[in-house]
Symmetry: C2
Subunit: 407 residues, 2 copies
Amino acid sequence: MKEETSNMEKKALAYFQSGGPTAVINSSLYGVIAEAFKHEEIGGVYGSIHGVEGLIDDCLVDLRKEDLEQIELLKQTPGAALGSTRKKLPAVSDPLFGKIIETIKKRNIGYLLVNGGNDTMDTCYRLHSFFQSEGMDVSVIGIPKTIDNDLVMTDHCPGYASAARHVMNFVKMAVVDGAAYPKGKVVLVEIMGRNAGWLTASSDLLKEDERPDLIYLPESDFSLEGFLNDVKRVYEKKGYAVVALSEGLNLPRKNAGGTDSFGHSSLEGVSIHLAEEIKGRLGIGVRTMELSLPQRADPILASKTDIEEAIVLGKEAVKALLKGESGKMVALRRLSSDPYRTEFFLAPVEEVANKEKFFPKEWILSSERMADAFRDYLRPLVKTSTHVRYDEAGVFLTARLRLERVK
Amino acid sequence: MKEETSNMEKKALAYFQSGGPTAVINSSLYGVIAEAFKHEEIGGVYGSIHGVEGLIDDCLVDLRKEDLEQIELLKQTPGAALGSTRKKLPAVSDPLFGKIIETIKKRNIGYLLVNGGNDTMDTCYRLHSFFQSEGMDVSVIGIPKTIDNDLVMTDHCPGYASAARHVMNFVKMAVVDGAAYPKGKVVLVEIMGRNAGWLTASSDLLKEDERPDLIYLPESDFSLEGFLNDVKRVYEKKGYAVVALSEGLNLPRKNAGGTDSFGHSSLEGVSIHLAEEIKGRLGIGVRTMELSLPQRADPILASKTDIEEAIVLGKEAVKALLKGESGKMVALRRLSSDPYRTEFFLAPVEEVANKEKFFPKEWILSSERMADAFRDYLRPLVKTSTHVRYDEAGVFLTARLRLERVK
């Protein structure tokens, strides 16, 4: 009488999002839903609101109650549709682990998916280990996402390609705009990436007369004198200059407090600091352009390949859970760049957690150029565009979920 | 023997771009080219490089030498394809007027089109008056463009709708991203508009849960205390807040020099100043997001209506010249908002030059809301999207002009 197994006897699946959103994290949610809905052996398909906090507070929503049309729109919805969290798990002795166990038992959760970056993979690993040590039958799989592209093991991370495509298009806008005047300005484009320069480096893929004149990553050998010399040289030759800067650029900072050697607060990024140096020491007009939040929230320039891979990884994560896998992260291995081919695999999540993949030093040829190998790596990820649906005011549509709480 | 009139006997047409670029100024160039190419009575169709500077220095390019495929791409090319200038004309006694006459005579120019904002309409009026006073047979027509939407006489300006659509979509990104965390930040979105708040106000058209919580224009009654109270109230209710701010917001500034009462340099916009007030006095986390250059340079979110109107005005300007009109600006009069209907007319350019159309005070209902009348005005301008062509790296294509100089 297998068919009559009640829902309460079947193990439920819970999914959560954690860390900074990307343009495609909700595409992974879409993939999870699309796959999970096909499997009757899954008791309930739940979303945990605000990451692990939903598990702690028993705040789950029933994803089977959502309209299919809205689920479809997840593919162009930025932000974290289920809410995110910055919470890091404390030691297992902490009472919140008891609360997690309560929710897991009450909802009969046997499958858990966590979607996020390095910190989230740490959460993934610790939950997996905790459930194992408690002898609980709960499998945990991680789904990667980060615009920083700094997770190890996987060839690249969902979220990176869309952010890179946003950066490339917006740097081109700065270049095209900057070329308008006979005597222009230096435009400093500040790009996300606190430690890894993958996103800033993406501007290197732009064509010869559309690209930044200078590119500086956190991994670059940076000196203020060298920087000012570079800017002066380009400006004198062209009459304007566009510079791509990582927000995490290694600037000389003397003070340990809230201000740095320039006397600025933490609210001001590297571009403002360097703009004042250029203005003060070279006497050239400067404009700063911080690409800011839209790098992780622009669905219009999202890469179709990125969306598709985010969906596939969501689906593969569900399949892995159903096969009994746990403590793994779904990952991509590249087989070929041209034609672009990848295969999916499971990486041990403890090898991913809390590690960072930096931009290879050997790919930084100069302050003007990255290696061909990097452009070959990036090109297939960003080249495809997606068809965006707009509302009656010309604004991109987003999924309107019911988020009906499980009672 | 009319057909045998040589090109040198036919009057040539020259066109130039001036002031800050918009996403659609090159669509007006497209319209000029499309119309001018149809008229054999026009001797040459020239572009003046870097605005009026091309006339002064006899730096003209032959637009008839351009590839049609590249001309087509002007419709999605931001920046100023022929180069722009910030030059304002001096008194007519200045020797550069003699140089302009030289070029006009040498190239047999009888038709002149100037494409720009308030300052450019001043140039338009002064060139028109100068040619008249010199008894020269040169007609001058202005084509409006500005993202600020601050030209009088015309219902709206080409460039505004595309910039507004960019602003709306990017504010929605900030709202969607900001909603991810249980305890979020205050996001201050800084929007272009030194004196007029049309662009910032456009964010008011967003749907209820996608719109900024607070909107401040240069025309708003602004006080720091009121602002901080507003932010505090919204943040306490929602856990985050998104604020749309005009860059030209009327902040209290005490010093006349390069720094203001906060001790900041001119490189830092209002958002950074207000962010420090929020951080310091309310103790709430803040993020600034300056929309910067892409507001005037984003072809991807350009409004189709805007592109089409920019083209039509370019065409109508050529027709007006051929009818012998001079000293006029092509303009739009709205007949109806729903369905959207406009008609074209010629406005006396001296009534446009150096004037500014501010956002109507009566349309500012509060720091949270604009009047329905404004949203009815804006809606038809922004609602249509355009099909963008991308290159093989996923980056929007732009026109590659030959710019072959007239010898």
